[in-house]
C-alpha cells in the first residue's frame, strides 16, 4: 500500500510537470494566434499547418541559445532566480485537484498530488514565493532596467497580495474549509450552487488580483518593454528566460484552476457535460480572458496599481468580508 502510494504520487508529479510544461508551450501559441486574430493578423503561419509547430521551433531555439551571464551580475543568484519562478509555479499545482476521481483497473486515482487541509493557503503562499524570482533576477542582473523591474516587482507584490488574501477570505468563511476539494464539494449540484452568485464581488477582486499575480497585461509592469526594455528579464537568454516564461504560463493555469474551483463550481458535472471537461472549459475560458484582456486594455503605472489595490480594492474586500460575516451571523 505504501509503495503503491509512492509510485502513484511520482507518476502524478511527472504527469503534472510534463503536461503543464507542454500546455504552457501550447498557451504561447494560442496567445499569439488569438492576439493576432484580434488585431486582424494571422500570427505564426509558416512552421507546420497554421504554424502549429511554432511551439517546437521556439523550444529548440530556447534550448540551443547561448546561456549568457553578464559580467557585473551576481552569478549564483542570477542562475537561481528563474528556477524559483518555474519551481514555485509547479509546486503550487501540488495542492490543486485538477479533475474528479476516476478508476483505472479497480484502482481509484485522485488527481491531486497532495490533499492537504490548507490547500488554498498553500497554493497562494507558493505562488507568492514565485515573485521572488523576478525580484532576485532584477537585483542580481547588474542592469538598471532589471533593477527597475525588480523595484516594480516589489511594488506589485506589496499591492496585490492583500487583495488576494482578503478576497478569498469571504468564500473561505462560507465554506468553512481551506481544502479545495471541500470548495468543490460545497458547490455540487448545478450552476445555481456556484459560489460566484453568493460572492460576486470576491470573484471580481480575485480575478483582478490574479491578473496582478501572473503579471498579465493590465498589470504587466515588471517587463513592459516600452518602459523598462524587458524589466527583470533584460539580461536573460535561452532556457533561463524560458523558465520565467514557463512559470508565468503555469501560473496562468493555476489561477484559472483556482478561480474555477473556488467560484465556478470546480469539477462538478455541469448538466450533460462531465466534470473533467467542465473544469477544462472553465480553465480555458480564463486563459482566453487573460489573452483577451491583453489585446484590449492598456497597462497601468506602478503608482496606479498601488492606488487601485490599496485605496479601492482593499476597502471593498474588507467591506465584503464584514458583510459576509454579518449575513452568516444572522
Amino acid at each position: 500500500m505504501e509503495s503503491a502510494f509512492v509510485i502513484e504520487t511520482i507518476i502524478k508529479i511527472l504527469v503534472v510537470l510534463g503536461l503543464f510544461s507542454a500546455l504552457a508551450g501550447f498557451a504561447t501559441y494560442v496567445e499569439r494566434k488569438v492576439l493576432a486574430f484580434m488585431q486582424r493578423r494571422l500570427g505564426p503561419m509558416h512552421v507546420g499547418p497554421w504554424g502549429l509547430l511554432q511551439v517546437l521551433a521556439d523550444g529548440i531555439k530556447l534550448f540551443t541559445k547561448e546561456d549568457f551571464i553578464p559580467q557585473g551580475a551576481n552569478r549564483i543568484i542570477f542562475m537561481i532566480a528563474p528556477v524559483i519562478t518555474a519551481a514555485s509555479a509547479f509546486i503550487a499545482m501540488a495542492a490543486i485537484p485538477m479533475f474528479p476521481e476516476f478508476t483505472i483497473g479497480g484502482y481509484t486515482v485522485r488527481p491531486i498530488i497532495s490533499d492537504i487541509n490548507v490547500g488554498l493557503l498553500f497554493v497562494l503562499g507558493v505562488m507568492a514565493i514565485g515573485l521572488y524570482g523576478p525580484l532576485l533576477a532584477g537585483m542580481a542582473s547588474g542592469n538598471k532596467w532589471s533593477l527597475l523591474g525588480a523595484a516594480r516587482t516589489a511594488v506589485q507584490f506589496l499591492s496585490y497580495e492583500v487583495v488576494t488574501g482578503l478576497s478569498v477570505l469571504a468564500p473561505v468563511m462560507i465554506v468553512g474549509s481551506l481544502s479545495l476539494i471541500d470548495f468543490n464539494n460545497y458547490q455540487a449540484g448545478g450552476i445555481s450552487n456556484w459560489l460566484v452568485w453568493k460572492q460576486p464581488v470576491a470573484f471580481i477582486l480575485f480575478l483582478i488580483a490574479g491578473f496582478a499575480e501572473t503579471n498579465r497585461t493590465p498589470f504587466d509592469l515588471l517587463e513592459h518593454e516600452a518602459e523598462v526594455i524587458s524589466g527583470y528579464a533584460t539580461e536573460y537568454s535561452g532556457m533561463r528566460w524560458g523558465m520565467f516564461f514557463i512559470g508565468e504560463y503555469a501560473n496562468m493555469f493555476t489561477i484559472g484552476f483556482l478561480a474555477s474551483l473556488i467560484f465556478l463550481g470546480g469539477f462538478n458535472d455541469l448538466g450533460f457535460i462531465p466534470g473533467a471537461i467542465a473544469i477544462l472549459l472553465k480553465v480555458f475560458f480564463f486563459i482566453f480572458l487573460f489573452i483577451w484582456a491583453r489585446a484590449s486594455w492598456p497597462h497601468i503605472r506602478p503608482d496606479q496599481l498601488m492606488w487601485l489595490c490599496w485605496k479601492v480594492l482593499m476597502p471593498i474586500a474588507v467591506i465584503n468580508v464584514v458583510i459576509t460575516g454579518i449575513v452568516m451571523m444572522f
Partner: protein
Amino acid sequence: MNGLEQFKDRNVSQNYYRVKIEPYPKTPWERFKRVVRRSLRLELFVGLKITLMEMLRFKIHTIQYPKEKLPISPRYRAVHKLLRLLESGNERCIGCGLCEKICISNCIRIDTRPDENGRKIPTEYTINFGRCIFCGYCAEVCPELAIVHGQDYEHASEQRAQFALKEDMLTPLDKLKEQKEYPGFGAPTPAADKLIKKTPLAY
C-alpha cells in the same frame, strides 16, 4: 458641377471633428465621482467587445508575402525586359544605342551587327544591376518600346554587381503569347480616374 469642374472647386470644407474633453476634476470629491462614473459605465468592457468582434468577424489583412503578393502599379520600375514584335517574333531592338547613351549611371552596354537584311540587331545587351538606379530613362527614350521595365521586383542577389544578359531579359519565343504590352513610360494606372482626389487646400 460635373467633369473637371468639381476638381477646380477649392472650397474644401475640412471635416474636422472636435474631441469633447470634460473639465479636469479639481477637488477630491470630483475625482471620486469620476472614478465611480467611469467604473459604472463599464468602459473597459467596450474595449473587450471591440477586440472580440474583430476576432469573430475575422477580416484578416495579412499578406503572406512569399506566397501571396500585392499587385503593383504598371508604372513600377522593376527589372528590365526586352520585348519582341508580337506577329513575327523578331526582336524590337534596332540597336540605335539611345538607351546606352542616356543611361545616367552608365550601366547599359550594347554590341550590334548588321544582319543579312542589312538591319542592325543587338548581339549583346547587358545591364549592370549593381549600378542601375532604375530611373527609367532607357525605357522612356526607347523609340521602339523594346526595353521596358517589368514587374519583377525581387532582385536581391548574393553578388554585389548583378549583370543581366540579353537572354535574361529577352522574351523567350515560346512565351511570346504571354508578353504584356508596355503602356509606355508615364502611362496612367488603370484606375487612375478613381484615384483622383481634391487637393485639400483652400486659397
